[in-house]
Amino acid sequence: MNDSNYLKVKAKYVRIETLKIHKEAPETRVASSLSAIELFVSLYYGKILHFNSQNPRDDARDRFIISKGHGSISMYPLLADLGFFNKTELGNVCKNGSFLGGIPDPVIPGYETVNGSLGHGLGVGCGIALALKSRAKEQNVVVLTGDGELNEGSNWEAIMFAPQHKLDNLTLIVDYNKVSMLDFSKNIIDMNSLNEKFKAFNWDVYEIIDGHDLDEVYTVLHKVVHHRINKPKVVIANTIKGKGVPFLETHSLSHILSVKPEDIDTLIKELEDAE
């Protein structure tokens, strides 16, 4: 389903709610959570993924593994809006006794795996994809990683494994926001050209030029996730870390920066007023 206005409205809602969560819980990784919003919105509101919010572990669901867990606080408002849990929970992020932490775990309805340590999701996703194929099940496996996360060697063990076993039910989305924790990724380990790297490993490679253009994001993801061509697929989504918060968008330390509460109020007002 691609109702581009509907997706825009939802992306705006998710961005505003993510900022509100960050205002209440400044320890959340807001910049990393903002870069993936259009990816999440397209997958869920665009119904690219099959999910069941009333029975999150429904066997008929597509399996979505968010390996860059701490960069997915923006999933909270989305999951709540879709009925995975009550929206009132959004006010409890990082509060005593809440199941919504700074880094999501599968105690949250809608999450599949334990996150927070990087470089695990793709290998686990390979195992799930293998299991689904071996039982001739049709569901898709989608894994989201960051680009800094690809420094972890365990990813490359999985990147070698997936094409060997023709896991064409597996799609890796790289949230290519180009900023790691302490610097721009290219100054730490330059992953360019990611495209060529995945091609060399025999993956089917796609690119999203603007990971915040919902039309493009939806179109590419919709095509790729459901496409089966005997190979695993990777979508390299060029995104901006901290998208929507101007000072974060260009900052090499955006990952660890928090936004001041009064700035959040201004940003939210601007977002609400914008067309």
């Binding site: 290998g123 195992g127 494994f161």
Partner: protein, 303 residues
């Protein structure tokens, strides 16, 4: 008496189970055995060699287990525990507290089974590091009879397990395991002194205690043995010796027993906390670490 490798009898039984249980999946990190060749040949759709990649071995095994397969992940003991320890912690220990996973990590080469291969292949840390993780049963058999009995349990219990096999063929120390859940076997009665051992060292304990009044207890479920029954079994004993192919005072069997038997005199016997580069037989490596039969006996007689 016939010697058999634990892995051979275990894998042979598993091979039989695979014939009628299609939910069994076997993943290996480029490590085999003749009996594993039969599994590969007969069930190619449920056997995968992930290559020399233990991190991915655990991650792929996790994915398969989350989808309901009963998974066996297989490699050399030091590598399948230590190369991928964080994968085990995150995707098995932590995740299994939230989601059901029947995942069985099989490490072959407990202790100094691979004596000649030196410190990388000696495995003297696994008992303590696996024991410290919540949610994982640690199984450390001393003979093939116990190893074989574990196949049914591994298939039945929907939770993670670490299975620590010796690499060398060893004789059986019992005809059968009567009550597996107890987690230990009394192999010989004795009055004042008891040796509590696991794995290969139980064979050594049997040899040492042959002519002596020493109670012998072989512990195979390191974390999950029946604590009360072990208390009962040791009630009359005044001195307990723990004996393991593991670094001493590092969290292995000794720590488990020290914690639960604070009212007894417990003496810990194990490897010195250093690596052994001197090449030689298993017995030679034991000697280098003060674990020859004579030295153990000398230590026992002191008490």
């Amino acid at each position: 008496m016939q010697s058999k490798a634990m892995r051979d009898v275990f894998l042979a039984s598993l091979h039989e189970e695979m014939a009628h249980d299609e939910s069994i999946f076997f993943v290996a990190a480029d490590f085999g055995s003749p009996i594993l060749d039969k599994i590969r040949a007969d069930y190619p759709a449920r056997f995968i060699n992930v290559g020399i990649a233990e991190q991915n071995l655990i991650n792929v095994a996790t994915g398969l287990a989350l989808e309901g397969f009963k998974v066996f992940a297989y490699a050399i003991a030091p590598f399948i525990t230590m190369r991928c320890y964080e994968q085990i912690r995150v995707n098995i220990a932590i995740l299994s507290q939230i989601r059901d996973m029947n995942i069985n990590i099989i490490g072959v080469g407990a202790g100094v089974s691979y004596a000649m291969s030196g410190p990388t292949h000696h495995c003297l840390e696994d008992l303590s590091i696996m024991r410290t993780l919540p949610n994982i049963e640690v199984f450390s058999p001393s003979d093939y009879v116990t190893a074989q009995s574990y196949v049914k349990r591994a298939l039945k219990i929907k939770k993670p397990k670490y299975i620590r096999f010796d690499a060398q063929p060893l004789v059986a120390l019992r005809d059968e395991v009567e009550d597996f859940d107890v987690g230990f076997s009394v192999l010989k009665e004795g009055e004042r002194v008891a040796i509590l051992s696991t794995g290969y060292m139980t064979h050594k304990a049997v040899s040492i205690a042959k002519e002596l009044d020493i109670k012998l207890i072989d512990i195979y479920l390191i974390n999950s043995y029946d604590k009360e029954k072990l208390q009962e079994a040791l009630q009359e004993c005044e001195v307990i010796f723990t004996l393991e192919e593991a670094f001493k005072n590092s969290g292995g069997l000794d720590a488990e027993i020290n914690f639960h038997f604070k009212d007894k005199k417990v003496v810990n016997l194990g490897f010195e906390k250093k690596y052994t580069f001197e090449i030689g037989s298993r017995e030679f490596v034991h000697q280098e670490n003060g674990l020859s039969e004579d030295e153990i006996l000398k230590e026992i007689k002191k008490h």
